[in-house]
């Protein structure tokens, strides 16, 4: 009743008590759950999650990842004392295992399942149901054609039915003089397959993590590897793996061949690796006879209990250490770990003696020089091999804590010095011997062997992952290529002739539907009527 058109003098009427807001139903717990589920499974949410997934994956490429390179990660954190620990807490060095990244992809997959299940139900229903009734006014459809033809109505309709069937439509007549046809169910089926197969990929990846294992071993030429846990340098089993159940095969490294670029002098090419071939003798676990096997970088060896990959190689100089009386106390091919592309390698020689231990630590250089950058290698092949070592004495193994074979823990050791008081530096070429000061003995660089770095891995999930991803690709192609179309036909009398009206409805942008209708009509009236 309040006339507000004259706002001037009229006394403001008292506000109606409790201007009752439109009463909304209370959601309640179930309601909220249903609401959240609807939101989570909406296409919009999936879109946002997909973009978040892309965004969330990026830090894993910009920051060093602990699982890939723990040393580089530790160094990064050390170099950035403020940001480092915080980023570490937020999971930036373990992105793909971090709670937030996991949350994104888990939500995405829940959303995917919640979206795909109802759609599958609808598709199954549609596959059983008949195409919908012919609309009253076909000329309102986005594409439509009308044509006059001769013949009885039934005949014409039959012709249309045949034409549509020939174009692989499902045809149904809901009433006299009309046809409803639909095709392209495989588009939706492909789309669903794409999404469902992605679940297969995730399951495959997860089972690979749970049941897979990997182990690394460094094997110098001439030595034999027996596939037992104790022989691995590192072994990382999945949570559900029984490491004692390894297949007992053996692998002997007969020769390790490495070729490097020496003819092209340009930067980036000179010294580049060209070929790595590990010639081995493989004795299968099932007792069948030994056979020669070549393992190359792109040619792993399937053993039946894990696959052997050639992932690295390097040098194992044979070093002999004698004590003051000339007795040999150490004589082994000692693998040095390769640290750069020119095969500068680090390693350690640990000699335990009754009076005290001797520890040598330093570099092996296949083509070694010493300049202002210190000892370094200028070519990866063994053209002029050299060892650059420093020496320590004392007790090496003071506790039972495991030590790396390739580095010397110098705590509790004293470094030997030269007469001038500088640390003692040994530079040994192939075949040379160095006499340690104070009658401590000598060290000899006897000969040089190569080693192969094998990684032995098993991933029971990989077949599922591969098959799922290929199915996913097939589904994707089907969903993008196939068109879902509905075509309706109505035949009416127009004097002596029949008027056939054909209407078509495509899903999404379907520019080809007009051609499709024209084609149907052409099959109906093969001779030009004009």
């Amino acid at each position: 009743m309040t006339q507000v058109s004259t706002p001037s003098a009229a006394p403001v009427p008292p506000a109606p008590p409790a201007a009752a807001p439109p009463s909304q139903p209370r959601l309640g717990l179930l309601g909220w759950l249903r609401f959240s589920w609807r939101q989570l499974t909406s296409m919009r949410t999936a879109l946002v999650l997909l973009l978040l997934l892309a965004l969330g994956a990026v830090p894993g490429s910009t920051f060093p990842q602990r699982s890939l390179d723990a040393t580089r990660t530790a160094r990064w954190i050390e170099d950035h004392p403020t940001a480092g620990p915080w980023l570490d807490r937020l999971g930036f060095f373990e992105v793909y295992a971090s709670p937030w990244f996991s949350a994104i992809y888990l939500l995405l997959f829940i959303s995917l399942i919640g979206c795909v299940i109802p759609r599958t139900r609808i598709l199954l229903h549609q596959l059983r149901a008949t195409p919908p009734r012919t609309p009253k006014r076909l000329e309102r459809l986005p594409a439509h054609v009308a044509v006059e033809v001769d013949g009885e109505a039934e005949e014409v309709l039959e012709g249309a039915r045949k034409a549509l069937r020939a174009k692989r439509y499902r045809v149904h007549s809901h009433g006299p003089g009309t046809l409803s046809a639909e095709k392209g169910y495989a588009k939706e089926a492909g789309n669903l397959l794409f999404h469902l197969a992605l679940i297969g990929v995730i399951v495959g990846v997860a089972s690979g993590y749970l049941f897979g294992w990997r182990g690394d071993v460094i094997l110098p030429v001439g030595q034999t590897f027996a596939n037992t846990l104790i022989r691995y340098d590192t072994f990382s089993p999945g949570p559900w793996v029984d490491p004692s159940a390894l297949a007992p095969y053996t692998l002997r490294l007969d020769e390790m061949e490495a070729t490097f670029e020496s003819r092209i002098q340009s930067k980036g090419q000179f010294g580049a690796a060209r070929d790595f071939v590990a010639s081995t003798t493989f004795t299968p676990a099932d007792g069948s006879p030994s056979r020669a096997e070549e393992i190359t970088v792109n040619g792993p060896l399937e053993t039946g209990g894990g696959t052997v990959f050639l992932l690295g190689n390097g040098y194992a100089p044979k070093i002999t250490v004698r004590d003051g009386s000339g007795t040999v106390v150490y004589s082994e091919a000692t693998p040095f770990l390769t640290v750069d592309n020119l095969y500068k390698s680090t390693g350690a020689i640990k000699v335990q003696g009754p009076k005290g231990d001797l520890g040598f630590s330093g570099f092996f250089l296949p083509t070694g020089i010493i300049d202002d950058q210190g000892p370094r290698s200028v070519f990866p092949d063994a053209l002029d091999p050299a060892l650059a070592l420093t020496v320590f004495e004392g007790r090496i193994f003071t506790s039972s804590a495991p030590q790396s074979v390739y580095s010397l823990d110098t705590t509790g050791l004293t470094q030997l010095t030269s007469a001038g008081g500088d640390p003692l530096r040994i530079w040994l070429k192939l075949g040379q011997t160095y006499e340690l000061p104070g009658g401590r003995g000598s060290i000899t660089f006897d000969s040089l062997d190569r080693y192969a770095g094998f990684s032995i891995r098993a991933d029971p999930g990989k077949t599922l992952t591969l098959v799922s991803s290929l199915l996913s690709l097939a589904g994707l192609v089907a969903s993008l290529v196939i068109r879902r179309r509905r075509v309706f036909v109505r035949v009416t009398d127009t004097g002596p002739r029949r008027l056939v009206t054909v209407g078509g409805l495509g899903q999404g942008d379907d520019d080809g539907i007009t051609d499709e209708l024209a084609d149907v009509v052409a099959r109906l009236a093969p001779e030009p009527a004009s």
Binding site: M43, A46, V145, T296, N298, D515, S530
Partner: protein, 338 residues
């Protein structure tokens, strides 16, 4: 041992292609300049089939059978278009013709370049950044040249040819790598499968990117209404559809790249997925383009938003190529640049 004289001829072919592409760029620029509608002239844009057909179908309820070919009514439509837009200037037509012929010539020269490079190193010529860029440029030119035979794409010419010229310039200078044998991990049949498909996919995404950008600009221009050559190219919606049609070819190819890469990674590195930076970015690109296709299928998300996602996708490709290859530490460090 790579044959250095053959590699020299390969570079010569690339340089020649670049010279030809420079001329093609000029020709396409002249075409666009001559194509600008005169002041006050009513403009009818190039009619791609996608825009024409619905209109034609709507008005032809009295369509009487006939050959059943959609092109049957074409002359009438062409005549109708001529009423609103006078025949385009002869100069424009000539320039575009020259541009197209030069594009073909450049494509052939580049094909010779890639072939000679492959011959000189006795392997598939996709082993370093120089070779990826050259092969990718060839793919872009070939896709464009063949596509331009099927529909009027003269207005797109400069937006394909000029970026290709830029990429070739980088390929022969910054990214140049001497003809050489490959490192052991690249010696595999998967190099041919994985890298070739990836390069073709990137080429398609690249042309799609050009179309996506044009569609956004064209949309803006439709509201400003100033006379420009832009008003002659197909409408924003039609351009967007063209972009989409390329993306839906490129996306499955990229998915295949991802799968083939995983198979190869397992063969060469022992594990099919290592979260190596290059793998991460390949995945990021896949997710962004998946989001694009998803956005385009979502009601309530505008085509414009979807197009922006596609543009973000191509920027990720550029990062993946120009930044990740060179600067990021990973197993894919094959750029040959040090």
């Amino acid at each position: 041992m790579p044959n250095t004289s053959l590699a020299g001829y390969a570079n010569l072919a690339v340089y020649s292609a670049m010279a030809v592409l420079t001329l093609a760029t000029l020709a396409y620029a002249v075409f666009l300049a001559r194509w600008v509608p005169a002041r006050g002239e009513t403009v009818a844009s190039v009619a791609p089939e996608s825009e024409l057909v619905p209109a034609y179908a709507g008005t032809s309820t009295a369509y009487t059978g006939g050959s059943g070919d959609a092109g049957a009514d074409q002359p009438a439509v062409a005549a109708a278009a001529e009423v609103t837009a006078p025949a385009e200037p002869l100069g424009a037509r000539k320039a575009a013709g020259i541009g197209l012929s030069l594009t073909w010539l450049a494509t052939l020269l580049l094909a010779v370049g890639v072939g000679l490079r492959g011959w000189s190193v006795q392997r598939w010529p996709l082993g370093n950044m120089h070779e990826f860029a050259t092969f990718g440029s060839l793919a872009v030119l070939a896709v464009f040249a063949f596509w331009a035979r099927r529909r009027d794409l003269r207005w797109l010419g400069i937006f394909v040819v000029a970026p290709v010229l830029l990429v070739l310039g980088l390929a022969i200078t910054v990214w140049y790598t001497e003809a050489a044998e490959l490192v052991p991990s690249l010696k595999s049949v998967w190099l041919v499968i994985h890298v070739t498909v990836a390069t073709i996919s990137v080429a398609l995404f690249g042309i799609g990117f050009a179309l996506a950008c044009l569609s956004l600009v064209r949309d803006r221009l439709a509201t400003s209404g100033r006379p420009a050559w832009m008003t002659r190219v197909p409408g924003g919606a039609a351009l967007e559809k063209l972009a989409y049609s390329l993306h839906i070819i490129a996306f499955p190819l990229w998915t295949f790249t991802l799968i083939a890469g995983a198979i190869w990674a397992r063969q060469a590195w022992g594990s099919y997925w290592n979260w190596d930076p290059k793998e991460v970015w390949t995945f990021v690109i896949w997710a962004v383009y998946a989001a694009y296709l998803h956005a385009r299928a979502t009601t309530g998300v505008s085509r414009r938003t979807a197009t922006w996602i596609a543009i973000a996708g191509f920027l990720c490709i550029v990062i993946n190529y120009a930044v990740v290859n060179v600067w990021f530490v990973g197993q894919h460090s094959y750029s040959g640049i040090s």
